[in-house]
Subunit: 201 residues, 2 copies
DNA sequence: TATTATAGCGAACGAACGGTCGCATGTCAA
DNA sequence: TTGACATGCGACCGTTCGTTCGCTATAATA
């Protein structure tokens, strides 16, 4: 029981930090949300700052474990349609998984204040997806499913609009379904433009 | 002299809110940064919250005045190269103009806490640029400079990656020059893909 | 000159903050 | 049974927060 207390605190911290930011969060409420007295907190962490640092450690490790290594690459699609379905599966996951949503919110709020948050934000918001799709697209080019071009440029052109829609979901959750439809429409548009040998000059 | 005090306070408020957020900003420092006693502030605003609301009023009005109406549309480019130079001019302005940079930072930080910030963020980050380029692209299609397609979709595909790079500049200013080069490269790539009648099927 | 409004100031207020302390409880090994 | 350790608690500490107050100086009005 006592084993998981630190983890439960970090979970609650992610919850509050991602809503109110670090400065807008106070220890009493954080502890209260766990049914815990304020002071008991300090058995597990020396300070509010240490909670923040431990949370960021955890989020960085989580990102690395989940998206960091090439072995987590999904298989290269065998058809344009498969790219669409794979994209939708991935976007649905990343836009509805609570922990990932909260992580993005937290990074949006704190990216200008903390250097590690800044670096993680760039990974989450830009380089992570791009690098992953650059590999996929290179594979798809080899299979003749995508017009030969710079895979990094295509991946950037593909993932940045999708990222923008994911941010929209974070900001205005009521628009999630609409945003998902737009992701799918964009994915199909992308294939129409870049797809197949037939479009090659 | 006394006339401009409110404006000077709002300027300083934008400065601090965009660095530390609303919760992370305190009135003493805000006043101090203007060489002013803490209490003198309250001659001009009833509360910290009122400063926030007045600032947001001002930012919304500023956006509307500057980007809101169709009459601020730049002229439809007469050549692909002109699209590139126009894009670069616009991106350079928006990525280096201090007030606009601070506004985006503030919106990134506060978009989840305040509904008006939320709405303005969606305009700044997504719909504003997209709608503007949708008109431009429609014009360019009429001139035969762009492949006939849904202008809104093309505008989204064009502006979202550029927005992502602007966000990168906000987050990591040292990468500004690199990001600008990437904007230009992307713009040229876009023209190569979508440009001219020659590429039409 | 007397009056009024405006804008500044330092001191001080109560509330809320992050953090500490001493005490109580439960567990487990010796 | 004892002692050691981990964990939880409420009371409390000093600081900082947003805000208020009473005073002064200035400048315009009558």
């Amino acid at each position: 029981m006592a084993k998981g207390t630190k983890e439960r605190i970090l979970e609650a911290a992610l919850d509050m930090f991602s809503q109110y930011g670090f400065a807008g969060t106070n220890i009493r409420e954080l502890a209260g949300s766990l049914g815990m007295g304020k002071s008991s907190m300090y058995r597990h962490f020396e300070s509010k700052e240490e909670i923040w640092n431990a949370l960021l450690d955890e989020l960085i490790a989580y990102y690395e474990a989940r998206f960091g290594s090439p072995e987590h690459l999904p298989p290269v699609p065998d058809s344009p349609e498969e790219l669409v379905t794979m994209t939708m599966r991935m976007v649905n996951l990343t836009a509805r998984d609570e922990k990932i949503v909260k992580t993005r919110k937290l990074l949006s709020i704190e990216q200008f204040r903390d250097d590690r948050a800044r670096a993680l934000a760039t990974k989450h918001f830009l380089t992570g997806l791009t690098e992953m799709f650059a590999r996929l697209f290179a594979g798809m080019m080899d299979k003749g499913l995508l017009r030969r071009d710079d895979p990094a440029m295509l991946a950037f052109a593909y993932t940045a609009p999708i990222s923008a829609l994911i941010h929209l979901c974070d900001r205005e959750p009521k628009k999630t379904e609409d945003a998902m439809a737009r992701v799918e429409a964009f994915s199909r548009h992308f294939i129409k433009i870049y797809g197949g040998k037939s479009n090659e000059q």
